[in-house]
Amino acid sequence: MLGWFKKKLSGKKEEAAAEETVETADRVDAGEESAPSSTPGTLVPDEVAPPMKEPAESDEPAEAEEQKKPQRRSMFQRLQKRLGKSRNHFVHRLDNLFRGKKKIDQELLDELEEILITADLGVSTAMDLLDAAKDSVKRQELNDPQALKKVLRDKILSFLQESNQPAELVLPESGPFVIMVVGVNGVGKTTSIGKIAAKFARSGQSVLLIAGDTFRAAAIDQLKIWGERVDVEVVAGPPKSDPSSVVFDGVAKGVAKDYDVVIIDTAGRLHTSVNLMEELKKIKRVIGKNLSTAPHEVMLVVDATTGQNAVSQAKLFNEAVGITGLTLTKLDGTAKGGIVANICHELKIPVRFIGIGEQVDDLRDFDPEEFVDALFSVGEESDSV
């Protein structure tokens, strides 16, 4: 349920773990390159995990794998179902494109470019992907369109795995794990916080929420209602009060009462507003006053329906407060989410959670492999018929 967090709880050898992940990623790449023509496993929704992933997973402790499997299936299915909602989505079009084709020509590449751009991957990322594809074609590694699809899948996956943040964060020796949540207006920060809090609470952690959005009308009430729903405590000040002071008090309480997790909501702000970004920097500084190691995670929430501006958002927020993780919301409506690959590629920030529905448990841990597989497997069923 709490992939990255749980791992963190079990083992505190952050660095070793990070190295391991890098190694694993390398091995995955190597494995895939050596067998480029193997078709990706035919997936029906009932299958537990795509065969593609096995080389990677075999490197992990068997126990962890065991733990993850059941949850994986449900997320995988749900994601597939959600992504499958829109008829005209990414993979459907990819499949249509590949089905009728027997060889790779310029026309196919052109169409491919269009599909990638339509998925909000952005012109430059789409070009990168196509260049990779073209290279492979040139080297004659590819002659059938299915193999091209695999090249794309691997490339997008490698984008998603590019990250200069540790894949697993270490829990502080003492005191709470502090998450600061930031983002532009209306991306779903408060809702995501409610859902994240529910996850932690359910896994037995004590959670404290801090209503740092003192600006938007009724934002405090919104967080309080979430607090009641998932039965965690909320620290709030009066509306229009200084968010930094609310946060200061909140973190102080979190430290004093020794909560496991403290999640800080902040007001939505456009990344171009210098004053508000300064306010955010201040909030971050203030968090560190009561707990010098905090915030341990600065999470940027991004709306999956956002276009190329999401990269600008991520860049500017990163410059201001140093983003360590992403949450991608509203992925169920768009069936694209190409912008994730774009952000990961450009900023090397890992995605932690994705929101794929309105239910509390629709906020899922992000697993790049699974995500890509879900994207690329939809429609394969009909292929095999």
Binding site: K85, S86, N88, E114, I117, T118, A119, D120, G122, V123, V184, N185, G186, V187, G188, T191, G194, F215, R216, A217, A218, A219, D221, Q222, K224, I225, W226, R229, P239, L270, H271, T272, S273, V274, N275, E278, D303, T305, T306, G307, Q308, N309, A310, V311, S312, Q313, K315, K330, D332, G333, T334, K336, I339, E358
Partner: protein, 450 residues
């Protein structure tokens, strides 16, 4: 992050110098640049394709005007075509017919429906109408509360709905209550919903058949990507929207979604949201948005903003002062304050064409809010005498000013330096006019002197 389209096109057309006419071949490369620019601005691919086709048709065969470089000419055609597509005139809300009229807001989660509802209510109230806000978002926690708070801010009554009610019942009851209390405009704020959520879309249809809607406004986030088309199309077919509100336009999104939505629905964009404060709602200007989508800056908005804050008398006064060369530090301060009144300085700078390019250069002298505030503090820490005659500001005065403004002597020096540079420039401007009046010949430029 974006290169200026104009510059890129100039590059393309460098090779074409000497060609008298735009032909299909030489325009093709230019169109590829236009295409990239539009796609980077998040205009939907299908829309881009159709657009490029129609522009190419219009541009081919055009003679290159003597006054314009071919690149500029293509931009002109592209720009005109964009404006035409975006709708040439701003369309007001439909408020005539049987009163009270009902406006319903609809859109995805987080697009800004609730805030926009309050903003529209405020504008209508200023125009002398009696708006009535109706919160029908029964799903998001505290959404009803949010509209109540906003209603209080704009002093517009809000219907007291509760989360247990069905939205359609809320709408019916609110209309009845509005009729009783003499409200003439009802604004229904609905819950955000995904276009693929048939059940919730059905709920909106229910409302639209239960009460007679005069306007159904589709609220869209200006930052939306390629999917804007799918969403807008679905809302339009299900609900027959009458207009679009584009929100969060104050950011650096290029707003390609505007074009996509307009093209796919054919419905006018009636408002744009340009900030979080309750008065930040503007009429849509197609020409400006077109410039923005192309990444060309927005000089018109800048001028308009300047006109709003500087009144004519003041401006004439200032001109006189400049001519007499008595532009003091006090005047300098007042100018700064005027600029500040125009809004966020970064936002203003964003409207200046080419500034994006300057931003990419490290250490480029782009004024920031912080610097402006410092300059202001420094001048305010000066005595009246100092302000009217900067020459008396010696080292010890500088030290005092630095202390008073919480800055350093270096920073005080910097302000004085920029003030004196400005004075010099003003002198030059004057000098020129004197010279031309006197009929003296200007010195030849250095290179031509023998």
């Amino acid at each position: 992050m974006f290169e200026n389209l104009t510059d890129r096109l100039e590059g393309v057309f460098k090779k074409l110098r000497g060609h008298g006419r735009l032909t299909e071949e030489n325009i093709e490369e230019a169109m590829r640049e236009v295409r990239t620019a539009l796609l980077e601005a998040d205009v939907n691919l299908q829309v881009v394709k159709e657009f490029i086709a129609s522009v190419t048709e219009k541009a081919v065969g055009k003679e290159v005007l003597a006054s314009l470089a071919p690149g500029q000419q293509v931009i002109k055609v592209v720009h005109e075509e964009l404006v035409a597509l975006l709708g040439s005139e701003a369309e007001p809300l439909r408020l005539d017919g049987a009163q009270p009229v009902v406006i319903m807001m609809a859109g995805l989660q987080g697009s800004g429906k609730t805030t926009t509802s309050a903003k529209i209510a405020r504008q209508l109230k200023e125009k002398g109408r009696k708006p009535f806000l109706v919160p029908a978002d029964v799903y998001r926690p505290a959404a009803i509360e949010q509209l109540h708070v906003l209603g209080e801010q704009v002093e517009v009554p809000v219907f007291s709905s509760s989360p247990e009610q069905r939205p359609v019942d809320i709408a019916r009851q609110a209309v009845a209550e509005a009729e009783q209390n003499g409200h003439d405009t009802i604004i229904i704020d609905t819950a955000g919903r995904l276009h693929v959520d048939e059940q919730l879309m059905g709920e909106l249809q229910e409302i639209s058949s239960a009460v007679r809607l005069s306007e159904v406004l589709f609220v869209a986030d200006a930052m939306t990507g390629q999917d804007a088309v799918t969403v807008a199309d679905k809302f339009n077919t299900d609900l027959e929207i009458t207009g679009v509100v584009l929100t969060k336009m104050e950011g650096d999104a290029r707003g390609g979604a505007a074009l996509s939505v307009k093209k796919i629905t054919g419905k006018p964009i009636k408002f744009v949201g340009v900030g979080e404060s309750i008065d930040a709602l503007e009429v849509f200007h197609p020409d400006r948005t077109a410039s923005r989508i192309l990444g060309m800056g927005d000089v018109l908005s800048l001028i308009e903003k300047a006109e709003q804050v500087v009144d004519e008398k003041e401006a004439k006064n200032l001109a006189k002062k400049i001519q007499k060369n008595v532009f003091t530090l006090q005047d300098f301060l007042e100018q700064l304050q005027n600029i500040k009144k125009m809004g966020n300085i970064e936002q203003l700078m964003g409207m200046v064409p080419g500034i994006n390019k300057l931003k990419q250069l490290q250490g480029a002298p782009i004024p920031t809010e912080v610097e402006m505030a410092k300059t202001e503090a420094i001048i305010q820490s000066m005595t009246k005498k100092e302000r009217s005659n900067y020459k008396i500001i010696n080292a010890s005065r500088r030290q005092r000013i630095a202390k008073g403004s919480g800055t350093s002597v270096q920073e005080v020096n910097r302000v004085l330096k920029s003030y004196t540079t400005m004075m010099k420039m003003m002198k030059k401007m004057q000098g020129k006019s004197v010279v031309t009046k006197g009929g003296k010949r200007r010195k030849r430029p250095k290179g031509l002197r023998r």
